[in-house]
Amino acid sequence: MNQTIRRLPHARIEADSTVEFFFDGRRYTGKKGDSLASALLANGVGVVGRSFKLHRPRGILGCGTEEPNALVQLESGEYTEPNVRATLIPLYPGLVAKGQNAWPSVRFDLLGAVGLCKRLLPASFYYKTFMWPNWRSWEWLVRRIAGLGTAPQAADAERYVKQNIHADVVVVGAGRSGLEAALEAARDPAKRVLLIDSQEEPGGRLLGSPVPEERSWLANALSEVAQRDNITLLCRTTVNGYYDNNVLAALERRSNHLGPRSGNAFRECFWRVFAGRVILATGAIERPLVFPNNDRPGIMLASAVREYTHRYGLTLAREIVFYTNNDSAWQVALELHRVGVKVDAIIDIRGAVDSALVEGARDAGINHYLGTRVINTKGRSGIRRLKIQRAPADGDPSVQSVESLPCELLAISGGWTPTLHLYSQSGGKLQYRESDACLIPDCNNQNISVVGRAAGEFRGELNLQCQWLTPDVPPENQWVDFQYDVTAADIQLAARENFVSVEHVKRYTTNGMSVDQGKTSNVNGLGILALATDREIPAVGTTRFRPPFHPTTIGAYAGIELGALYKPVHLLPAHKAHLTCGASFDDYGSWQRPVCYPKPGEAEAAAIAREAVAVREAVGLLDYSPLGKLEVVGPDARAFLDRVYINNMVSLKHGAARYGLMLNEAGIVIDDGVVVCLAEDHFLLHTTSGGAAVIHRHLDEWLQCEWTDLQVVVNNCTTQWATMMLSGPKARDVLQQLDCDIDLSRESFGHMQYREGHLLGQRCRILRASFTGEVSFEVSVPARYGQSLWKILMQRGANMGITPFGIEALMLLRTEKGYLHIGADTDGNTMPQDLGWGGAIARKAGDFIGSRSLSLPVGLDADRLQFTGLELLDPKGQTISGAHILSADERTTNGYVTSAVHSPNLNRTVALGIVAGAAQRQGEEVTVFYDGLRQRARLVSPCAYDPEGNALNG
């Protein structure tokens, strides 16, 4: 059936428009202003989904975020989105949606067969079976039957953005109460008011009102809002999270109403709202009544019927029957009649109903059955007939009569549930109001207030008569959670098995755990549990609501910070120059640094080896800029550093450099580097590359929190300088070609010395330290000249075979030399005595950070892992960082290989490690184990290359 229903004149849609869309492969048309749900209804599509567990056919129950049934898979490929409420999708041209959790289709679903063994599948049946032979043999099946939509396989083609906003007053919900509150607050022109509404347009329930006065009130209110320039109105924006200190998270749908490929830069905007005061005008959600087979397509909330009729102008069915326990549904029925939609009957549980309503119904020619219950419904893909039963008059069963009514649409109302998810998230407590059988705000700590229906202020009394489930008929087919197939019987079973805490029942029956998070099922479940356990509802308690109020796009939480923007990346001053030299880059502590400079077609390992050899035989050039540089200045600088390093800093002479080792208070080695004395009150600390910020924080903490009397400041100048390391026998020759006012000769500028001067007319700092074992000059110039310096050195060094080298070659070279690399050759237990610094500590007079911890029992253990070299007995043998040293019985670990390279200069494997008691075991043979392979090795001095250090002093 593809002919669409004629729309009522007062509808808020463009009657003469035609919007084409597709559902389950069929082509339909709707109107501009339709939601997918209203368009489907207009096309007479009854079954739009299948339930989670039993695959029962499901129709549209509601008209908004509360919808538990109409979940569809929207679009396809990189634009597909599972589990979308049809009620929340504005119809756009060419929309493509599919029913979910069904095969082949929701109209005819073979998995519906599961429903036949319903009796075998009560709540949590799975805990009681699938144990033989074991869970694994069943699990695959269960997993496949469970789940709803399908996950996208391709990356999201659209982008998201995050926006922070501050406001004095934030009003959530632009229905009548919300608009009133916002306008009230905006009277004070100094106040910034933010009004947020989740629908396509503001107005809330007024959008579904046929009453002319209400419609004009809305129009006026909206124009006033538009005029106030201290009110910001955000539509299509759902507040999903309410966090501490009045911070709200909201999601704005920017292009979902246009569909994919809308050309919008951002699909959704994630708002972080910082509110002074929050006013919740979030309205209320209607509750279904619980009765046998209340889950058939064609059974709809009365509030939804109202919306579809007046907002979308639909005449939903020929035979419309209402079933209620309160007055609100009567109003809806009469409103329908007023716009010319025929209502056949109103069935009301209550024996007596306000006479005005009864007369209204009589005048409208609507049959009404008071004191009457629906005890069953019939129909295959949709409801066709009702079975109703008049309640026995004062317990006299004889007078009860059962009738059957034709019914194409059953509009139900079991009362209203104020929407207090955000209130609860904010830490607010709820209280139960007997008269309306609903939970309302109680008390709250944050600056928040609740108005309108959300506060339980229902315009006009409901005169509700509570009925949590239908008595005297089987509970097995009385549905509570339509999506997860939870029935009254399931909740009773839970109680029977002693799951009487509301949280237990939720978890045991899964009531309210479906994607709607129980918006229509929680309170009914609560009531049924109260009955089953013979308690009052306050005694049962409620479950705490958790964010998000409505499921929220995961990508929106990420915003734009993905890919290259995922985490800030630091670039070297000479980054481009490295590219031109053919560098391959990698992330080293968030710095993009050259790994090596492979020649065309050259493998990484080969390039690294070539670079390492070049440094030993001629000269290499390394961009060393990320090496941490901290300047410590002040009258107490020297005293401070003496407490920071285990090494003696009291005797450090002006212009001299000294190696320093830094511990944390637990005695663990955290950093090392060369310390230079620039002046009596001025020191330059070098930290491990990328470690400057961490060490800066470490020093600041001690200065600000512990030694507040010390007059010392720390200046992180790491990126002020571009540092180029020239290393190799020809390093000096290269540098001497450049115009420099520092005497670079071996005699006057020795190892571990530091000079300042001018290079090519610019200020420069040169440090002679070495991490390669070769003569090295670490030349620093202001960063703006870094790239230029690199290029010049490459040019002038060309005739001496200068070779750019990367981090990996540097690591290879320092491993050959047995130079310690903190973090690689140490772990979180390493103390200085494990690195051969025991003597220095013993000699040091004063206290320093971590010193006391070194003498805790653990520090004195004989089997501490200590730094050592490892020489494989088999000269051709290879090993890898991560291999272990086994104990004699090979049952436990005795240490591990921390650095291992194939040395091109020694043409064998060179390895470093930390091994139990290594210092006392030099020369001993041990077993190295990796990936099932055992090798013999000898514990030797870490320094494998040039132990005499001739190269260094060359």
Binding site: Y127, M131, N134, Q425, P548, A558, N829
Partner: protein, 416 residues
């Protein structure tokens, strides 16, 4: 205790499921118990069960201030694994993992333990070296674990971002195939059912307000339901250890922090393993119900607020979107927080205390769930013999004064 089985289910179906017995007895609080366990979470219930089953101590009460399983047991991401670095840790958690493997049959309750494998991803050369060191440590201890290269990883996790230009490039990882996920509520309920049937009294909505201690020994417990006399008292109150220990005048090396977890809407199966990305603080698995279960790092400030916090949620989901670009259009359905006890070495404390008869199980950090069976078993043993179970000797309260920390992250550079 009625045996659960498919046949039983069928039989009860005929009677409309109206004859199912209580899963655990509703017990009245007695004035006297041989042993009392504070905390009705997985650890507390398991402890009571093993006291009764292994040590014949059946006059036992479990006191739960809320509803049983309502603490971290019901709030975590239900991962079990034993891929630890130090032998002390591996030995303990491997024992626990074995218990998980047979729990369904042992307790006749299907906890749905799915051993899809736990895969940890490395994002740099250095991390890969650490992982090799880590994986080898596990192999040396005879536990299953294998290092995987980039290609293997990409096959195992087809939805993973394998771009060579990714901000954090995947270098590889290592997998413990026997690791996996189970249904956390089921574990608590299974132990409650088993313990209750052995005579243990499970008392819910009973908060401990004070401890009766004299001459350095436990005499009893004051609760909101009255005072109980007992000489053996254990606490297994993850998240609130400092508070309860404080009642005994004991200060702990513990900081309580909020750890968040979250789930997406349910989708059809698309994710087979538990995949951890320590470098970017996110781990992901998919539950039997189809939800993606997502966890991350704990908030860095002390917290007893059992609720989600926006900045953490954002950073975790930012990582998820970066790692799995296809999940961007899925929707987050529910987010919550649990309070975890963090010790200086992130290893637990299962120990006697300076107070005779008072035993603590605390400091499980983010790894408490996987420890439930072994944690209960060893605490029960420690109570019964007033002597630490061999498996928990390294996890004594006294280790800190000796500096003998068991710091997994120190060796592996990765928290658990």
């Amino acid at each position: 205790m009625e045996k659960y089985s498919a046949f039983g289910l069928l039989r009860h179906a005929l009677s409309g499921h109206r004859r199912w017995p209580q899963v655990w007895r509703s017990a009245e609080l007695k004035p006297n118990y041989d042993a009392v366990v504070i905390g009705g979470g997985g650890h507390g219930l398991a402890t009571a069960y093993y006291l009764a089953k292994e040590h014949g101590i059946t006059n036992v009460a479990v006191l739960e201030k809320g509803w049983l399983g309502g603490g971290n047991t019901g709030r975590n991401t239900a991962v079990s694994r034993s891929n630890y670095f130090y032998p002390e840790s591996t030995r303990f958690f491997e024992h626990s993992l074995k218990r998980f493997e047979t729990m369904g049959r042992d307790l006749n309750y299907n906890i749905m333990f799915t051993q899809g494998g736990v895969l940890s991803l490395a994002f740099s050369r250095h991390e890969m070296e650490i992982f090799r060191r880590w994986a080898t440590a596990i192999q040396v201890q005879g536990v299953d674990c294998r290092v995987m290269g980039r290609e293997e990883v990409s096959e195992a996790v087809p939805l993973l971002n394998m771009s060579p230009h990714a901000r954090y490039r995947v270098y590889g990882g290592f997998m413990q195939q026997r690791g996996g996920i189970s249904r956390h509520d089921a574990v608590a309920w299974a132990y409650a059912r088993a313990a209750s049937s052995l005579g243990v009294d499970i008392i819910q909505n009973c908060e401990v307000t004070g401890l009766n201690i004299s001459d350095g020994a436990v005499r009893g417990v004051q609760t909101t339901l009255g005072t109980i006399r007992t000489s053996k008292l254990a606490m297994a109150v993850a998240g609130h250890s400092s508070v309860v220990a404080g009642m005994a005048g004991i200060k702990l090396p513990i900081v309580s922090q909020c750890l968040q977890a979250m789930v997406s809407e349910p989708i059809k199966p698309c994710f087979d393993h538990v995949v951890m990305s320590p470098q970017v603080h996110c781990y992901v698995s998919q539950s039997d119900r189809g939800e993606l279960v997502i966890g991350g790092g704990a908030d860095t400030h002390p917290s007893y607020g059992q609720r989600g916090n926006l900045p953490t949620t954002e950073s975790v989901l930012n990582a998820v979107t970066e790692m799995y670009p296809a999940f961007s259009r899925l929707k987050l359905m529910r987010q919550w927080g649990g309070i975890v006890d963090i010790t200086p070495d992130a290893s637990p404390i299962v120990s006697k205390t300076p107070v005779n008869g008072f035993y603590i199980s605390a400091g499980w950090g983010t790894g408490g769930y996987k420890a439930i069976p072994a944690g209960g078993e060893t605490l029960a043993y420690t109570m019964a013999h007033d002597r630490a179970h061999p498996l928990v000797e390294p996890f004594s309260l006294a280790r800190f004064a000796q500096g003998r920390l068991v710091d997994e992250s120190a060796a592996a550079g990765v928290a658990h």
